[in-house]
Symmetry: C3
Subunit: 268 residues, 3 copies
């Protein structure tokens, strides 16, 4: 893939199309999920009532489902929204927060995957491993060590689900089953505040709302997000200051910088 | 209206009376709604359980109802709180977030207007147009273009509802049906982060808690809020940095600055 | 107590053990409760569904129950989580936000105290007074003046409940019924933004997750938190800037600084 051309192009598309990204997400990071959606150039809307999610999903260009503070009732709204989005061809992103930490999270993430079709499924190594049927434990919302080859896990889950899989970590793995890419952008400081993962899901939504090839969209989102993280690390090294810089770098990110700083490689 | 005298006076009243502002608001911006209430000099309390909203509204000096992440059950709590506030003469502010985006939002906003009496109803152009019975579409929570004269829309809805209407936008329109004012304070950067509208509703609540003339209170709130936005724009031009400056300008705002910077004019 | 040795030691333990702190907390400050947990060196997880709270509490090293935006249903989840934590010896912290403001809050805080055993119960003067059976009124979530000797209130409630009691205020009072300490660290600017109390509850959770003596843990948490507040006040004097500095000081706090700056004394 000619990523040096693709990624700046997709970022530009996001800014021009300003996709409306409908979220059903958790109550912890919901505000900054909305803020990051706006910072990258898209428009957020958060709506979870069963009575309106189908209508809201219908006017959106992407839908993000994040199970961070799930309840069974909330999942029902997610299913309604997801099915409607599928029906209308609106791309859907799943952030499987905490899958592998409790039975509820694992079961409900799997239920969502059965009932809706996802453009992108995102999680850390143990969350994705659990969805791929591997025995792994998530410590709350923190990844735990997963045995085996994560690239293969991503590929297999991609093939089985039809979604592009994004495994976040020191290196991000992006695979649609056919193509797999490794993203080396990012900075460890991105882990010093809460919600980096959730906000990536929002950015994935924004990119999927502008670019229909979910593999390209997901890889581009991971690269851009990681670059903002690297740029912020040049300006701050503590959580609150770093988070502020990170948001402002996402907002300021331009195609040229992305072209220069992208560290992504296609792998087998 | 002698706004140069009125507005600084009302701001001073807010700081002296420290009204308790009870919110039933959305889960996206709730934290910064509380923070902005405190920054302007009032005291926030957020409580939504049907079992306590009447009691909480009873000890408050203002009530803010914001439908940003509504559910039918949440609206029931709003009705309870709103009726109790009406009974006790506690002013109530409605922020009709997303009216015109889904049937649920439009219907429930109208239901609230039928069941409770509002001191102030606030929204962007398409949200207010929809409440005034005009055919308009809100894109998620973003205003869309409304045909016709917004001043007339505000006036008509004010007359029909008995509330002071605030239409936010490049210029804010404030009308109680008899008097109408245009507020030219504000800065486009106020739209670079999420929740500017919600937080204005909180500030409207604080001002209504200190000044019983809701037209004066609403106009003063819009002017002060807009001035803080202008002052912040002198210090930062990116979302996170700007938001921080904006809050700190709200906190620091003094009567003299407000007097000098107010841009408000009475219109027919 | 040799606090100059104890407190730096406990802070170091928190950073080394990185306890997982499970929260059932309010929707207002939930994000910064998670962030402060991480900033102090622990790991947050927020989960409230009845279907998963027992399992989540089982993998945690501490549980924080905060009733800031309670509903009866939410309290049921808290009871489930609290009982499971008790069963497994996981320390539980109660933040009795708004007890004394409404009957629901007072009743539910008392119900929680009957149904679960707490390592630490935290509140401002009127919240704790109400739980101790004293007639006091809380203004929303703001303390009101309490008649009588707060130290004695803390001691009595500690004896009756078996919990370490923390009364926050200009000086914090920490008592387990046998031992009582006064913490003079802290800064008035900590009140300029919303959630300082909630976030202290999260830090109390983190410290209880690392140190099983809840009196030592609570005193150490109050001291460290207050010191961060003092350090932040040297760098900023407005709410948003101050809050950012406060978080970054919590993150940066080291054992030596804590040793030098601790202002705590044992009292009768």
């Amino acid at each position: 893939m000619d990523w040096n051309k693709e990624i700046p192009g997709i970022l530009t598309e996001v800014r021009e199309k300003k996709p409306l990204v409908h979220h059903l997400t958790n109550w912890v990071t919901i505000y900054d999920c909305a803020n990051v959606t706006r910072a990258i150039g898209a428009l957020p809307v958060m709506a979870h009532a069963a009575e309106e999610v189908q209508e809201m999903a219908s006017i959106a260009q992407a839908l993000v489902l994040n199970i961070g503070t799930l309840t069974p009732k909330f999942i029902e709204s997610m299913v309604l929204a997801g099915k409607k989005a599928n029906e209308l061809g609106v791309p859907v992103v799943l952030d499987a927060v905490g899958a592998g930490a409790t039975k509820l999270r694992t079961d409900k993430a799997k239920e969502l995957m059965e009932k809706a079709k996802f453009a992108v499924i995102k999680g850390n190594s143990s969350e994705i491993a659990v969805l791929a049927g591997i025995d792994a434990k998530t410590r709350g919302v923190e990844a735990s060590k997963v045995e085996g080859d994560l690239k293969m896990v991503a590929k297999t889950l991609a093939k089985n689900s039809g979604a592009t899989i994004v495994i976040t970590g020191k290196e991000d793995i992006v695979s649609n089953g056919e193509c797999t890419a490794i993203v080396k952008n990012g900075h460890e400081l991105m882990g010093c505040f809460v919600g980096t993962g959730c906000m990536l899901a929002s950015v994935l939504g924004a990119f999927c709302g502008a670019e229909r090839n979910s593999f390209k969209a997901a890889a581009a989102a991971a690269v851009c997000y990681g670059i903002a993280g690297e740029l912020a690390a040049k300006k701050a090294d503590k959580p609150a200051a770093y988070k502020n810089e990170f948001f402002d770098e996402i907002f300021s990110l331009d195609a040229d910088t992305v072209k220069k700083m992208a560290k992504i490689s296609d792998v087998d």
